[in-house]
């Protein structure tokens, strides 16, 4: 368990979903993965499968059709997970917030951990967000481990000879 916690901070895998964006943020997210900015030096890999990902990067505001897709991707990711909203539209709806087809920012649908403002934000800002998201991911994993330990302790107190959970520990 400790090894996994330690490793989690070293290689966060990201999944990127273009929710309703104008492409400006998407190409900046891709640019932050390519040689000049090179997010891969932090162990960041862009994956296509939500089941492999720790961090969800969303660009663009949410509309009535993409909402379901976004929620599905988030649900398929294993916890603990971190959501980054990249760009003004993802934070609040931005210039699109007056449009008839727009629900609003990503936080209307998902719990967002990190906001990156800007239209379009620079790759440096996106890299910074990914590094902070990694810290948050480690923190969330620690919290989860603590909660699990607490749960096991409670079970032990109730039944000292041990249930199935206690035996495993």
């Amino acid at each position: 368990m400790k090894l996994i916690q330690k490793a989690a901070g070293k290689s966060p895998w990201i999944i990127h979903y273009d929710c309703n964006s104008c492409n400006g943020c998407d190409i900046e997210i891709l640019a932050s993965l390519t040689p000049i900015y090179d997010a891969e030096r932090f162990g960041v890999v862009n994956v296509g499968n939500p089941k492999h990902a720790d961090i969800l990067i969303v660009s663009g505001s949410v509309n009535y059709r993409s909402r379901r897709v976004l929620e599905n991707i988030w649900r398929e990711m294993p916890g603990p997970k971190v959501v980054i909203a990249v760009g003004a539209c993802a934070c609040t709806g931005g210039i699109f917030s007056d449009c008839y087809n727009i629900i609003g920012g990503v936080d209307k649908v998902l719990p967002v951990d990190i906001y990156v403002p800007g239209c379009a934000p620079k790759p440096e800002a996106i890299l910074d967000a990914v590094v902070r998201a990694t810290e948050k991911l480690v923190h969330k994993r620690e919290e989860l481990a603590a909660r699990q330990a607490e749960h096991v302790a409670k079970l032990r107190a109730k039944d000292p000879k041990g249930g199935r959970n206690a035996e495993k520990q």
Partner: protein, 362 residues
């Protein structure tokens, strides 16, 4: 012999590793062969045409720029040219040249971006990274000249917002030559590499007649042998610069790659020419009067011909803005190319039209 083949329906997208943007293509397959394809769109629809009717004509520039972040400058340019025509405003020559320079810089970065994504579509990741490494030089110029990397907001009604000084023009010319040099290396791989040729040659063929009848535009049309390029009409400063539309005749994915590589060289040469010939003077004028009447404004985006229909009623708010974007025109051609190919060829064919979904759905 007994026929063991069966049809299966595969929903490709909206979230897929090869797609930078969400579009769904419903595929009917017979074993591995594509029988038919049907697109399902609407994942990026925002309703920007309606929003442009709520804002005034100056604010709407920022709205149309956000139709697409990759060719944002071209969208603003097309919109501004339409309104300048409606108001009878003469744009100063220096502004026209500056628009040409920024426009061609956008084309350069868009094509390099596309080349990278194309390489990624057949799993050539290092080539993808090399294309994007070269592209960063263009973005640095954008940041130095306009203050932002992708959405540069340089156009205003009646001209441009910022001037480019002589030092910077020299730097732009130098960088354009550097990019042309480094293009030589990636060109070799795209055109001669055995594996790359195997994945692109003969894949997604569109004949000249089909391309013309289906109303394809841009590099897709030119790769099928129709030398049609809106820049030949001579908007901005293109009438005073030397340039020829790049064409190929094969009509497959390889030809489309070749056309875009040629266009990259054209764009770089146009930048160098414009930076040399640029006249001194004003960079913007005020609109002569309030816009009234209707007009159609056209220009050549990296993906093809873009068309704006603008209707004004003599006030600051427009009655109607209609945008026909190049990818929208190319989707019928895409659906024509797909049947008969293996499923594994789908990413290459899809990417070969350079899809820009946020343009398509607005």
């Amino acid at each position: 012999m007994e026929d063991n083949s069966f049809n299966s329906l595969i929903p490709f997208g909206p979230q897929h590793p090869v797609l930078p943007e969400p579009i769904q293509i419903k595929l009917v397959l017979e074993d591995e062969k594509i029988i038919s394809a049907e697109p399902a769109i609407g994942y990026v629809h925002r309703g920007l045409e309606k929003l442009a009717e709520k804002k005034d004509i100056h604010q709407s520039i920022y709205v149309v720029e956000r139709i697409c972040g990759i060719c944002s400058f071209m969208h603003a340019l097309c919109y501004c040219q339409g309104l300048e025509e409606l108001t009878g405003t003469e744009v100063p020559p220096r502004a026209r040249y500056l628009r040409t320079i920024w426009g061609e810089l956008h084309r350069t970065h868009s094509h390099l971006l596309w080349l990278g994504l194309m390489a990624d579509s057949y799993g050539f990741e290092s080539l993808f990274y090399q294309c994007w490494r070269i592209r960063e030089k263009v973005l640095d110029i954008m940041e130095a000249t306009a203050g932002s990397r992708v959405i540069i907001s340089a156009n205003i009604l009646g001209g441009v917002r910022r001037d480019i000084g002589p030092d910077m023009l020299g730097h732009i010319q130098k960088t354009a030559k550097e990019i042309a040099d480094s293009l030589r290396d990636i060109e070799k791989v795209f055109l001669n590499d055995y594996t790359v040729c195997h994945r692109t040659q003969g894949i997604g063929i569109l004949t000249k007649e089909e391309a013309y009848e289906l109303g394809a535009v841009g590099p897709v049309l030119r790769a099928s042998g129709v030398p049609q390029d809106v820049r030949s009409l001579g908007y901005a400063a293109y009438g005073e610069l030397d340039f020829e539309p790049a064409t190929e005749t094969a009509g497959d994915s390889y030809a489309r790659t070749k056309v875009r590589l040629k266009e990259l060289r054209n764009a770089l040469s146009l930048i160098i020419q414009a930076a040399e010939k640029i006249p001194e003077g004003e960079i913007s004028v005020k609109l002569a009067r309030k816009p009234e009447g209707e007009t159609v404004s056209r220009l050549e985006q990296p993906r093809g011909e873009c068309l704006y229909y603008i209707k004004a009623n003599g006030t600051d708010v427009l009655s109607r803005v209609r945008v026909r974007t190049p990818t929208f025109a190319n989707i019928p051609a895409l659906l024509k190319m797909l049947p008969g190919h293996q499923l594994s060829a789908l990413p290459v064919i899809l990417l070969s039209i350079d899809p820009c979904i946020s343009c398509t759905e607005r």
